[in-house]
C-alpha cells in the first residue's frame, strides 16, 4: 500500500525551502566560480533538487548517505551546514574537509554523510560496507546510495546490486537519471534503459518515479524505506530528472539542443511545486518572499563564514595521510 506523505503546511514550505536553498546556494557558487574563488570542477544540481530533497525527507539521522560528485544538493538536503560547504568550496580550513575535498568531496561524519565521490560508480561498493556494518551491529539504519544513471554502466553497479540482494542489505539505491552522463545520452550508453527491469536481474525490487516532483519522490522514498525495513532487502529507485546546466563548468553542450533544455526547464521541480502551491493557495506570495530572504541571508552568512576562514597551514599537509586513531 502506498504511503501518503503527510502534507501539512509546514511540510510543504519545508520542501520548497529545501529546494530553493539548493538552487540559490548553487547560483552563488557560480558567481564565486566566475570570481575564481571556487576552482576546479563544479557540477551543479540545478534541476535535480527534488530528488535529494524528497529522498532525504524519508531518512532519519541514523541513516547513512553515499553521495556523488554532484552532491551540493545531497549534502544540503541532508542538513549539512551550508557554511562548511561554502568554506569547503573556497578551499578554507573551516570547510567540512579543511578545504581538501572541494566541491566533489563533502564529508560529514555527524550526519553519516559518507562523502561525495568523484569516481563514477566508486561509491556503490562503499554502500555495501556501510549497510553491512549497520546490519552486523544490529542498527536499523538504511544506507541511501546516490549515483547517476551513467554509473549503472560500470561493473561496480552490477557487483554491488548482486551483493546487496544476496546479503539482504538495507540499501536504498537512488539512481539520479538525468538522461546524460556528460555528453552521453542514456539511450546511447545503455542497451536497456528500463532500469527497474535491470535491477530485477538481481531480484532487487524497484520503481521509477518522477524526479521533478518532490512530493512523488518523498512518497516513493518513504515507501521504499518502509519496504527495506520490513522485507529486510535493498530497493531501487529510479528518479527521472534533468540537469539544466552544463555537466560541469567546462562543457559546450554540443550533445543536446537549447530547445530540449528549455522544454525541461518548464518542468522544473521548483517552478512546478511552487506553481502548484500557489494555484492551490497553499502558500502566500509573502511567504515565498520571506523564505527566499531567509535563504539568501543564510547563504550570505555562509559566504561570509567562508571568506573569513583561514587556509590550512602547509605544515599540516601530511596530517591524516595516516590516522593516529579511529575517530570515536
Amino acid at each position: 500500500m502506498t504511503k501518503k506523505v503527510y502534507l501539512d503546511h509546514a511540510h510543504l514550505l519545508h520542501l520548497l525551502k529545501a529546494m530553493i536553498r539548493i538552487r540559490h546556494f548553487e547560483a552563488k557558487c557560480v558567481e564565486l566560480y566566475q570570481a575564481q574563488k571556487i576552482l576546479g570542477f563544479l557540477h551543479l544540481y540545478d534541476g535535480e533538487e527534488a530528488v535529494s530533497v524528497g529522498v532525504m525527507e524519508a531518512l532519519t539521522p541514523e541513516d547513512a548517505i553515499i553521495a556523488t560528485y554532484r552532491e551540493h544538493g545531497q549534502a544540503l538536503a541532508r542538513g549539512v551546514d551550508p557554511k562548511c560547504l561554502m568554506a569547503e568550496m573556497m578551499g578554507k580550513l573551516n570547510g567540512c574537509c579543511r578545504g581538501r575535498g572541494g566541491s566533489m568531496h563533502f564529508f560529514d561524519r555527524k550526519r553519516r554523510f559518507y562523502g561525495g565521490n568523484a569516481i563514477v560508480g566508486g561509491g556503490l561498493p562503499l554502500a555495501l560496507g556501510v549497510a553491512l556494518a549497520d546490519k552486523m551491529q544490529r542498527r536499523s539504519a538504511v544506507t541511501a546510495c546516490f549515483f547517476g544513471e551513467g554509473a549503472v554502466d560500470e561493473g561496480e553497479f552490477h557487483e554491488t546490486l548482486n551483493l546487496a540482494k544476496l546479503w539482504r542489505l538495507p540499501i536504498l539505491f537512488v539512481c539520479e537519471n538525468n538522461l546524460y552522463s556528460m555528453g552521453m545520452a542514456v539511450e546511447r550508453a545503455e542497451a536497456d534503459i528500463d532500469f527497474v527491469h535491470k535491477a530485477s536481474g538481481y531480484r532487487v525490487a524497484g520503481e521509477k518515479v518522477d524526479g521533478m516532483d518532490v512530493v512523488a519522490v518523498e512518497s516513493a522514498a518513504r515507501n521504499a524505506i518502509d519496504r527495506i525495513r520490513s522485507e529486510n532487502d535493498p530497493y531501487f529507485l529510479e528518479c527521472r530528472t534533468y540537469r539544466f546546466r552544463a555537466h560541469s563548468m567546462f562543457d559546450a553542450q554540443l550533445y543536446r539542443s537549447k530547445e530540449e533544455v528549455e522544454a525541461w526547464r518548464k518542468k522544473g521541480p521548483i517552478l512546478r511545486f511552487q506553481t502548484w502551491l500557489e494555484a492551490n493557495r497553499l502558500i502566500k506570495p509573502e511567504e515565498i518572499a520571506a523564505m527566499e530572504k531567509e535563504i539568501d541571508f543564510e547563504i550570505a552568512e555562509a559566504v561570509a563564514y567562508a571568506e573569513a576562514g583561514g587556509l590550512e597551514p602547509i605544515s599540516e599537509l601530511e596530517r591524516f595521510v595516516t590516522m593516529d586513531e579511529v575517530p570515536a
Binding site: G40, M182, M184, E312
Partner: protein, 335 residues
C-alpha cells in the same frame, strides 16, 4: 649579404591541437585505426582533443563508449589482436585503475604467453597529473606504475612537437603503448619545423645542455625544470635539463652520459616519491654510473599524500621550480 633563407616555416599550435592533428593523421592514413572512449564523440572530448573528429570520421571510427573502462579497454585489446589499430582514450589515469586488469593481464601478457602468436598493437591515451584543483581522485600521476610493466611502451610527450608526432611512432609499434598527456599542457603553445614528419621515441632529449648538474624529468615537470635551470643560471649554476620522453624503455644511455658530464643529478617527478619512476632513474645511475658521481642523488617529487583541492595545498604538494632550484643549489654548493 642576405640573411640565410629559413629552411622551414615554424608550425605553431597548442598541445591540444597537436594531439588532435596526430589523431586525424592516424585516422586518415590507416583505415584500421579507430578511436574509442568516453565522450570523445558528441561531447568533443573531455579536454576537447577529439572535437570535430566524429563529424569528420563518423560513428564507426569515433566510438563513444559507456562508462565501462574495463570493457572498452579490453575491447581495444581484442580488436588489436584481430587486425585493427585501436586508439583508446581513458579520460584520465585516475580511471585507468578500472582497466588495469585488461592492460596487465591481457594486453602485455598475451603476446609473450601465446609464444608470439598474437601482437597487440594498441594505443591508450590518457590525461595525467595535477594542478587543476580537482582534488585527490582526479590528480594522480601514475606513470611510474605503467613504466613497471614489461611489454608496455610508455610515452610522456611534454612538448607540442612530441604531442604531434609521438602517436605515429606509437602506432608503428606492434606492442601496446600508453601515451600520457599532462593536463596542464593542453593549452600550451609551441612550434616545430613544418617539414617535420616524425620524432624518435627511443631517445631522451637534452633540452638544455649544462655542466654543473643534470635535471632529469618528464611530462608536465619539464617546464618547471627549465624554469629552475633559468633561475640557477642567474646564480651561475649551469644546469642540464633532460626530458626522458619515454619512461619505458628508459633511455639509460642519455641519462648516464649526462650524469657522467655533470657528476650531479636531481630527478624531478610528479609521482609520489616512494617507489616512483624517479627511484628507478636514480637506481640506474647508482648501478651504472656510481663512480662518476660526486654527490648523492636527489629527487624532487610530489608530497606523499592525496593531492588536496585547496590551491595553496596542491601547489605545496607538487614539484615546483623553487624547490628544484634549492635542491640543485645545495648539491652544487653544499651549505
Amino acid at each position: 649579404m642576405n640573411a640565410p633563407e629559413p629552411t622551414f616555416t615554424p608550425n605553431r599550435m597548442t598541445y591540444r591541437e597537436a594531439c588532435k592533428q596526430a589523431l586525424r593523421e592516424a585516422l586518415l592514413s590507416d583505415p584500421r585505426v579507430f578511436l574509442m572512449g568516453e565522450d570523445i564523440g558528441r561531447y568533443g572530448g573531455c579536454y576537447a582533443v577529439t572535437k570535430g573528429l566524429l563529424e569528420e570520421f563518423g560513428e564507426e571510427r569515433i566510438r563513444d563508449t559507456p562508462l565501462s573502462e574495463s570493457a572498452f579497454v579490453g575491447a581495444g585489446v581484442g580488436a588489436a589482436m584481430a587486425g585493427m589499430r585501436p586508439i583508446v582514450e581513458i579520460m584520465t589515469v585516475n580511471f585507468s585503475l578500472l582497466a588495469l586488469d585488461q592492460i596487465l593481464n591481457n594486453a602485455v601478457t598475451i603476446p609473450h604467453m601465446s609464444g608470439g602468436q598474437f601482437a597487440i598493437p594498441l594505443v591508450i591515451r590518457m590525461a595525467t597529473g595535477g594542478g587543476r584543483r580537482v582534488a585527490a581522485q582526479h590528480s594522480r600521476s601514475l606513470e611510474g606504475w605503467y613504466a613497471h610493466i614489461p611489454g608496455l611502451r610508455v610515452l610522456t610527450p611534454a612538448t607540442v612537437e612530441d604531442a604531434r608526432f609521438m602517436l605515429k611512432s606509437a602506432l608503428a609499434d606492434p606492442n601496446p603503448v600508453i601515451i600520457f598527456e599532462h593536463v596542464m599542457l593542453y593549452n600550451m603553445e609551441g612550434d616545430f619545423p613544418s617539414d617535420m614528419k616524425e620524432v624518435d621515441i627511443a631517445r631522451a632529449k637534452v633540452h638544455r645542455a649544462g655542466r654543473d648538474v643534470s635535471l632529469i624529468t618528464y611530462g608536465g615537470s619539464l617546464f618547471k625544470a627549465l624554469q629552475a635551470a633559468d633561475a640557477l643560471s642567474s646564480e651561475g649554476i649551469d644546469a642540464e635539463v633532460i626530458d626522458l620522453r619515454t619512461l619505458r624503455p628508459l633511455d639509460t644511455k642519455t641519462i648516464i652520459d649526462s650524469v657522467a658530464r655533470t657528476r650531479r643529478c636531481v630527478i624531478i617527478d610528479e609521482g609520489w616519491r616512494s617507489g616512483s619512476i624517479s627511484a628507478e632513474v636514480g637506481m640506474r645511475i647508482a648501478e651504472e654510473a656510481f663512480f662518476e658521481l660526486d654527490a648523492p642523488l636527489r629527487r624532487v617529487c610530489s608530497r606523499e599524500a592525496p593531492i588536496p583541492y585547496a590551491a595553496h595545498l596542491e601547489d605545496a604538494c607538487l614539484p615546483q621550480a623553487a624547490t628544484i632550484v634549492a635542491v640543485a643549489r645545495e648539491l652544487v654548493r653544499p651549505s
